[in-house]
């Protein structure tokens, strides 16, 4: 018998955004689950937590953070971990994710997902921090591949080799951002299929899809546009390699009407059905008319 490393899949989701709260609560149910930006709800009270509790009562949620700074050489931020755990107790998320990056040192926060050099020193450092975090939270976490715009001379391995080794050492899971693979493949000139092939299939828990800005010389990961066709194509490749992985679309800026994003997510469902066949992927509930 094979025991799955990952949590059970939960279907197709969207990022939870404040401008959609009322549509989500009052409109037709078109989404299986939502991903929250953890920091947006790591506040004392008021509107964010009010809507969080109401939406959680009706939908599964996953927590996605930007401040863990797992690769920083500063000590782990204990206040952050404490607040994250407190939020997780409230939300009871299907899982918790953050990014394979660092966000600052010397007590400062650049509020950006800064890339890490991929070498043995970084591997040792990050693996041991992931183990600490997982122990503290009492669960496996997912780390997401970030879009990057530079390569360090000291890097000794590819990002996918680094991710694979990290999963082995730290027993963590992967949030595979398909758009970020595409963005980085253009920015660094690698083959995105080679990336997919290098990622350990048994560790991939979630996919991200998002839009970006192509500036010709390079691509900036902006999350302010619809998903582009090459990323949809890569998504189909990812489905072929990894199977029915829980999928969501991130839109952080230039946020359209909820129905428009739900339509875009339907396109992801469509690709999944075309790629994997029906009945293998969606957990979408059918609400009787």
């Amino acid at each position: 018998m094979t025991v799955s490393l990952v949590y059970p899949p939960i279907g197709f989701g969207l990022g939870l955004r404040a401008s959609h709260y009322e549509d989500i609560l009052n409109g037709p149910r078109r989404i299986d689950w939502f991903e929250i930006l953890s920091e947006n709800y790591m506040v004392p009270g008021g509107k964010p937590l009010h809507y969080l509790d109401r939406i959680r009562a009706e939908y599964p949620l996953v927590m996605h953070g930007v401040s863990l700074s797992i690769g920083s050489t500063d000590p782990l931020n204990r206040d952050y971990l404490r607040d994250l755990k407190k939020l997780a107790e409230r939300v009871q998320p299907a899982w918790i994710s953050d990014h394979l990056c660092w966000t600052g040192v010397a007590g400062k926060n650049m509020h950006d997902l800064l890339p890490l050099p991929y070498d043995g020193e970084t591997l040792d450092h990050v693996a041991s921090r992931i183990q600490h975090v997982q122990e503290f939270l009492g669960r496996r976490i997912l780390l997401e591949n970030v879009s990057s715009y530079l390569t360090y001379k000291r890097s000794e391995m590819t990002e996918w080799d680094f991710l694979r080794e990290l999963c082995n050492r730290a027993d963590c899971l992967i949030l595979l951002d398909v758009n970020n693979i595409y963005v980085s493949s253009v920015n660094h000139g690698f083959d995105p299929i080679e990336y997919l092939d290098g990622v350990p299939a048994d560790r991939v828990q979630q996919f991200h899809l998002a839009g970006h800005r192509n500036l010709e010389t390079h691509i900036i990961d902006t999350h302010d546009e619809p998903v582009v066709d090459p990323v949809w194509d890569l998504y189909a490749d990812a489905l072929k390699r990894f199977g029915p992985v829980s999928t969501m679309i991130e839109r952080d800026d230039n946020i359209p009407a909820f129905a428009e994003l739900a339509d875009e997510l339907d396109h992801a469902r469509h690709i999944a059905v075309e790629t994997l066949g029906s009945g293998t992927h969606s957990r979408r509930r059918v609400v009787p008319a």
Binding site: V43, A106, M110, K153, I220
Partner: protein, 259 residues
């Protein structure tokens, strides 16, 4: 010799903060050179934080105009790098920065607008709490009143403003032409709070501001009445104080009565 990870991260961060240092030699130059690749991060660092400020300081941006606001944002970012895990708190020192830094301190209305807007931000996601009702107030036995203390709602923000920041905010919020800056003769007390999910603000007379602060400091009803005699005739003071309390209970500003 290869540099260790802490040094690399310090160099990278220094580059983001000051656009200088040794970082360039650590980066591969290929289709884009190392400087351009680093610049993408340096630009994103500032743009992201300026966006955060734009969200929290809509009226300040309207008062300054987008270009001047951008310049202010960059000066503030350089002077106050974020030290909190959440970008939510990045703007918390902007009012003080405006009050202390040239050329902004020559226009003190700017600091007042920033302080007013930040108070609304703090009221927005302050802790939730019980709200006392007029019935709760009526149920307090008369003998308990002199020693009675009051828990204020945790969303309450008390600030004093010398300038017409609220009128400027109002106009900016409605996307209307802003009124000219106007200075009051004395600083005016304001309370900003959340009732339900809605943010409210109101100016206070001198005695009201004093009383609200006294309640917040834990003074009991008798002590508050004593203090109010500075402005109110002693024979009317208990009724005056009870009237204000009733208003604030109705406003959702009082979380409880403490015997």
């Amino acid at each position: 010799m290869r540099r260790r990870l802490p040094a690399l991260q310090e160099d990278f961060q220094s580059y983001l903060l000051s656009l200088s240092g040794a970082m360039e030699q650590e980066i591969v130059s290929d289709t884009l050179d190392a400087r351009m690749r680093l610049q993408i991060y340096a630009d994103a660092y500032r743009l992201r934080l300026i966006e955060a400020l734009e969200t929290d300081f809509v009226a300040l941006r309207a008062a300054l105009g987008p270009e001047e606001f951008d310049r202010l944002g960059r000066a503030y970012i350089d002077a106050n790098p974020s030290d909190h895990y959440s970008v939510r708190y990045f703007g918390r020192n902007l009012g003080r920065f405006l009050a202390q830094t040239d050329p902004y301190r020559e226009q003190p209305v700017l600091a007042d607008i920033a302080r007013f807007e930040w108070a609304m931000t703090d009221a927005f996601d302050a802790p939730d709490a019980n709200v006392a009702t007029v019935a709760d107030m009526a149920a307090v036995p008369p003998n308990d009143w002199p020693g009675l203390r009051f828990a204020l709602h945790p969303s309450l923000q008390r600030i004093d403003l010398q300038w017409n920041a609220s009128a400027i905010w109002h106009a900016a919020d409605k996307d209307e032409a802003l009124p000219a800056p106007e200075q009051a003769e004395y600083p005016v007390g304001w309370m900003i709070w959340r009732q339900g999910l809605q943010i409210y603000f109101r100016s206070l007379s001198v005695d009201q501001a004093w009383m609200l602060d006294a309640l917040g400091d834990g003074q009991n009803f008798a002590e508050v009445c004593e203090g109010l005699t500075e402005w109110i005739d002693a024979q009317y003071v208990a009724g005056h104080a009870a009237g204000l309390l009733k208003q604030w209970v109705t406003d959702g500003l009082i979380s409880g009565f403490i015997n």
